[in-house]
Amino acid sequence: MSPRIPGADLPEHPDALWRNPEPKRSYDVVIVGGGGHGLATAHYLAKNHGITNVAVLEKGWLAGGNMARNTTIIRSNYLWDESSGIYEHSLKLWEGLEEDLGYPILFSQRGVLNLAHTLQDVRDSVRRVEANKLNGVDAEWVEPDEVRKICPVVNTSTDIRYPVLGATYQPRAGIAKHDYVAWGFARRASEAGIDLIQDCEVTGFTTQGDRVTGVRTSRGDIAAGTVALCAAGHTSVLTDMLGIRVPVQSHPLQALVSELLEPVHPTVVMSNAVHVYVSQAHKGELVMGAGVDSYNGYGQRGAFHIIERQMAAAVELFPVFARAHLLRTWGGIVDVSPDASPIVGRTPYENVYLNCGWGTGGFKATPGIGWALAHTLAHDEPHPLVAPFSLDRFVTGALVDEHGAAAVAH
């Protein structure tokens, strides 16, 4: 019998995903954290650099952290050159990723609208669009009537509390299926001979002078030539073990889905002033998120008033959502940096590299950072795409502040 519903049939996963090996005593490269970033780094180490004596150590189930919890918005329309550099590189990789991984990752370039609700939003939007164009990122400013054409369910009436004054639009932006992406990377890495070790928590490091010699884990000590920290919300726990200070704060970030609905929402809409962002995923569910819970939290859950506020924003912007139903809420732990940009690069330990601070927006960077971090590890030198994101920018003051003009950071 044929499927009745468009999108009801998600593509099948392959019959073989990954091996479940016992950890070896030693690896050339140990990647701590089996989220999207860790797995992508493993893939590109093997694929681009032929480095396969690699372990990805994951304390829980593979890609069960933020990778399994994010709202999958992919875009590259960031304000600053440094940001659009890494995110646009990533977007280009997304465009070929399905083929590269041989996995149906459901990358859907359905475009993203970032709504403007105040005159200052409009200025900031135009500023970002113009910067994007000059950086070769597809972007345009669209007026309310075009917003309505792109996404007919957006409330563009002028008598709402914060009327839509227009939007930025990036047609190449979109969404993908997060598990499929992670599993695609994992499968390739595993096939290449990289060991993906689950239920393996890094609990400490062994060091000699300025070098780390290995990691202590819940499954025994493992020697390491080079260590890459890809632990997202748990970065500080690891850097604390090494005595390195990193300016990130871990916050709960929640998201939610509705039941499956007939297609009503063909794109991705983000609004900062009426704070919510929405897409309708492949099966038909509305996927939404908003801002972080204010306090530090490692609990993978947040408070309900955040959800209620988000629902108010959703119904305000999309009145037809009124009787959609909230089916499930959940939370992740996001590593927020002072300038809303990632922190990637060297640490005081010669052979330890840091990758964190992606906060609420690192899913879209998954292939890009995996690619650049693999390059960095292989050459023992920060790749130019990540060089601007070094830890010492906080000392010099050369921040890459993505709050001001691009405040929606997802």
């Binding site: 069960g64 113009e130 309900f304 959800i307 499930r328 003051g397």
Partner: protein, 956 residues
């Protein structure tokens, strides 16, 4: 007869009233008390929809929220996607249809109301079944503040499905008494149709009350349709019962296959027979009640198929007396029928081996694989679950503070046990709250339970056929089968979370209420590990789906965010102002006269202020009264410039930075007395600056004797601006000598108008001679009108924010947040003059010394003049190096900065802009390019002050 399966009598429906409804285009009838499901079953219809991926017919398989089969779309009275036929109460005029997987949203806005209520109690009891009622009674009798919420239309829980007796009377009589007693306790809130859907920290429970849904079109419009109860409970008793668990076998998804207790519910509560010929398949004793009840009601019970080798000797005897055949040591291996089951395949089952099947015709197959306690709320409260080998289910595995589980939710499956457990649990809860149980709190009696024969834990009927595994459905809504789980495990997956994601089990509307535990069990079986090690996926709120609008509540439309308006708002509206949102404020942007667009209106307003006199409502400016002996010390620390040297009676402009040295706000400061300042902030920054002051005073400098109070709403503020402003102010306030000598720039004076205190200040945000008039908002309208009268001879012109922006931009005055973006220092703004060199420290100072701050290529505020004297640069435009051939090179093109403000100037008779440009001050005189709509517009970089750079006009 349109309801051939309605019993002749019984059930809790009002047979005297007939309701009409339409399902899938067919007109049907039912009664008040019915659900859509029971009414459909009464008409003989089991199939409700087809499945999402395979298109297989699916029907009603349970009588409440755990049903994975009966998905419907309501169309009338208002479209609502994806509801369960089993939970939709029937009303007259209901129009619905079956849903093959995706719901449909209405294309018109929902006009229903929604609201929320906060409630605080000592004890919240969730579930009004036997355990919950006893708990609620116990708490109420003890004098506690109690809330009892239950998701059904009436209290009773599992008692509504059976024929139990409590205290020697029919159980529902006892329920009625209990409800009546609760109603007599003034401190008890009892809500039916109310689902506790989320448990959060510190006893916070969210519950959704469906207030008018069951009334259909008759719902009173002024009553909220649904209400969210935000309940804070010192103690929570979870008495949410248990869900019956199916057993998985081939073709276990056909309409007509339902959980055994659901059949009892339909029979006893709704007076509906689920079929004529039944087979009952069970692994435990409870389903025998269904067999016996149905037989008594006239259903031909073909067989009870009991998977246990010895079945249940005791129940077998009862069946034999009723003439029901019991096949113990047997299982159902498959079914036949398409839109409705026509027969069950039954085979012997010994030592895990399934023998040859024989066919038993039936039109309904009841299944019971045991019970899953409804541990959702306990688990949401982060209670650890324990796998119970005997029940084959996860039960609460620890004691939590402030939340306890009672009755079958805790794994107690008999009535007497549930009653006792309800009392035990509530007493423990009361004692933790130091509340003494009432002396007359008596435990109701129920018949001694018969010890049941041990249940068998059977997740699925063993089947070696791969084809069968593909129709052994685990999650009916996702069309996910045992074969899918096997593939997942075969692919290398070990974690239940991975299996869930691979198969999509548990992600549908029911969130795995029946499929979750089965998946854990089957996965464990396939991996050969204990079920405890597989565990469950995480239970997440909400317990059942909740409409977005219900959660949005009243925070929609105008109430989405408070609207702040000034005392003059009505005047502005009457004057035809076009408003702008600035923070929460509504500010007039301009006042178009007939035939004017914004551009002409603003040119007119600007000209008035530059050549005659204009007036603006500046009441939204933030105002903070800073008082105390150390007020000046505080301001010295927070502003980049010196405030302590300000004389009483004088005014000074100041800039504030964050610790990172970036400008966060600016404004003027009036020294009212030695120990008192009035700090003016930007409109958007008012709350932030007050918070900022408080934070420093309270957390860093508690030794400072100073208090900061917002007086934004205590003062209306009207700048009167332009060369004729002196005439206007002088006319209205004859007592004040408004001459430059007597009332110099950057000073203030107090005066009065007809006894009303007024403060005047010579502050200018336009470069023109100007007087700010401050007055209590109570007199704002009167004073404003008096100013207009006084100004009439001079053509006084009210102007809005747009004109204000043009005027200030012509003078190069930045707007914080428009010309800055959190990366701009006072030096970048050309305000080194406002940064004290004398003060040893102030907030932000140290950051100025960082390497990045020394970079000569930092962006600096400059002016821009389009060379063609005509093009208005869009705000936000980027700036690039001048390109000789006028063609934009291919990307990436290095950017020099961007346009922050851009206007047409009446004064300059050309457009101009402000911009942040790399090394901008060094580039004054250069020509650069601004890409605008595909062309490069040449612009000249200028200083930021374009009008009256010498400041000659401020004294008029």
């Amino acid at each position: 007869m349109s309801t051939p399966f309605r019993t002749a009598e019984g059930g809790r429906i009002d047979r005297a009233t007939t309701l009409q409804f339409t399902f899938d285009g067919r007109s049907l009838t039912g009664h008040p008390g019915d659900t859509l499901a029971s009414a459909l079953l009464a008409s003989g219809q089991h199939q409700v929809a087809t499945s999402i991926r395979l298109g297989r017919p699916r029907g009603i398989s349970a009588a409440w929220a755990e049903d994975p089969g009966g998905l419907v779309q309501v169309e009338e009275p208002f479209p609502e996607p994806m509801l369960l036929a089993s939970t939709v109460e029937l009303f007259d005029g209901l129009v619905a249809h079956g849903l093959p997987g995706q719901g449909r949203l209405a294309d018109v806005p929902d006009s229903a109301r929604y609201d929320a209520v906060h409630h605080h109690v000592d004890v919240l009891v969730v579930g009004a079944g036997p355990a919950g009622l006893v708990a609620a009674l116990g708490a109420a009798r003890a004098g506690a503040r109690v809330a009892l919420v239950d998701e059904q239309s009436e209290a009773g829980g599992s008692l509504l499905s059976g024929t139990d007796r409590v205290d020697g009377v029919p159980a529902l009589d006892w329920v009625a008494d209990a409800v009546a007693e609760l109603a007599r306790h003034p401190e008890v809130l009892h809500l039916q149709r109310t689902t506790a859907f989320g448990v959060y920290d510190d006893g916070f429970v969210l519950a959704l009350e469906r207030r008018t849904d069951h009334l259909g079109a008759a719902a009173p419009r002024r009553v909220s349709r649904q209400r969210v109860w935000r309940i804070r409970a010192r103690s929570i008793v979870v008495a949410t019962g248990a869900h019956e668990r199916p057993v998985v076998f081939a073709d276990n998804d056909r309409p007509g296959i339902m959980l055994a207790r659901a059949a009892r519910t339909f029979l006893h509560r709704y007076g509906v027979l689920p079929g004529r010929e039944a087979v009952v398949f069970t692994t435990n004793d409870s389903a025998y009640d269904a067999a016996l009840d149905l037989a008594r009601a006239g259903v031909q019970v073909q067989a009870v198929v009991d998977a246990r080798p010895a079945g249940s000797p005791q129940r077998r005897a009862e069946c034999e007396r009723a003439g029901i055949r019991v096949l113990s040591g047997s299982v159902v291996t498959g079914t036949e029928g398409v839109e409705r089951i026509t027969s069950a395949l039954v085979a012997p089952f010994t030592d895990g081996e399934v023998g040859a099947a024989s066919v038993i015709p039936c039109d309904v197959l009841l299944v019971s694989g045991g019970w899953n306690p409804a541990v959702h709320l306990f688990s949401q409260a982060r209670g650890r679950l324990r796998y119970d080998e005997v029940l084959g289910a996860f039960v609460p595995g620890e004691e939590l503070d402030g939340l306890a589980v009672a009755g079958s939710a805790a794994g107690v499956l008999d009535l007497a046990g549930c009653l006792a457990d309800g009392q035990r649990v509530v007493r423990a809860a009361l004692s933790a709250l130091a509340i003494v149980p009432a002396a007359d709190d008596r435990l109701p009696s129920a018949p001694e339970p018969v010890v049941p024969a041990a249940p068998l834990v059977l997740w699925r009927v063993p089947d070696t056929s791969e084809a069968h595994a593909r129709t052994q459905f685990v999650d009916l809504q996702r069309d996910a089968t045992v074969a899918d789980i096997a593939r997942a495990v075969g692919a290398g997956l070990r974690s239940i979370e991975h299996v869930k994601r691979y198969t999509t089990i548990g992600t549908a509307h029911d969130q795995g209420k029946t499929s979750g535990v089965l998946t854990s069990g089957i996965t464990a079986e396939l991996l050969g590990i204990p079920v405890q090690d597989t565990g469950t996926t995480t239970f997440r709120p909400p317990y059942t789906p909740v409409a977005f609008a219900a959660l949005a509540g009243r925070d929609r439309g105008r109430l989405f965010d408070p609207e702040r308006v000034t005392a003059l708002h009505d005047w502005h509206v009457a004057a035809g102002a076009v408003f702008e949102d600035v923070g929460q404020w509504k500010r007039p942007r301009y006042y178009p006269q007939p035939g004017e667009d914004m551009e002409t209106a603003v040119l007119r307003e600007c000209a008035a202020a530059r050549t005659g006199v204009g007036i603006i409502d500046g009441s939204t400016l933030g105002k903070i009264d800073v008082q105390g002996p150390d007020a000046a010390v505080l301001l010295d620390r927070l502003y980049t410039n010196m405030m302590s040297s300000l004389k009483v009676g004088a005014v000074r402009y100041g800039v504030m930075c964050g610790v990172d040295g970036m400008v966060i706000d600016d404004g003027t400061v009036l020294r009212l007395a030695e120990d008192r300042f009035l700090v003016l902030t930007t409109t958007g920054g008012a709350a932030k600056v007050l918070d900022w002051m408080e934070e420093w005073v309270q957390t860093e400098w508690p030794d400072l004797r100073v208090h900061c109070t917002s007086v934004t709403e205590q003062w209306a503020t009207f700048p009167v601006v332009g060369p004729r402003s002196r005439d206007v102010v002088g006319t209205l306030f004859p007592d004040v000598d408004v001459s430059t000598e007597a009332f110099p720039f950057m000073t203030w004076r107090d005066t009065a108008l007809d006894g009303v205190p007024v403060r005047l200040a010579r502050i200018s945000f336009s470069g023109e001679l100007a007087f700010e008039v401050h007055v209590s908002p109570w007199y704002a309208v009167a004073v404003w009108q008096r100013l207009l009268e006084a100004g009439r001879p001079y053509g006084i012109t009210p102007y809005g924010t747009e004109t204000m922006h043009v005027l200030r931009a012509e003078k190069g005055y930045p707007i914080i947040g428009q010309d800055t973006d959190g990366t701009v220092t006072p030096h970048d703004l050309g305000m080194a003059w406002a940064v004290s060199k004398k003060k040893p420290d102030f907030i932000g100072k140290r950051s100025f010394a960082r390497p990045a701050n020394q970079d000569p290529r930092r962006k600096q505020l400059v002016g821009l003049l389009p060379v063609d004297r005509h093009t208005l640069l869009p705000e936000g435009s980027q700036i690039v190096e001048f390109v000789a051939d006028g063609e934009l090179p291919p990307p990436p093109v290095p950017m020099l900065g961007h346009v922050t403000s851009s206007y047409r100037s009446a004064e300059l008779a050309r457009p101009f802009a402000l911009a942040l440009v790399k090394g901008g001050r060094e580039r004054v005189g250069d020509t650069v390019h601004v890409p605008v709509n595909g062309t490069l517009v040449p612009v000249e970089v200028t200083g930021s002050v374009l009008v009256d750079p010498e400041g000659a006009r401020r004294d008029g």
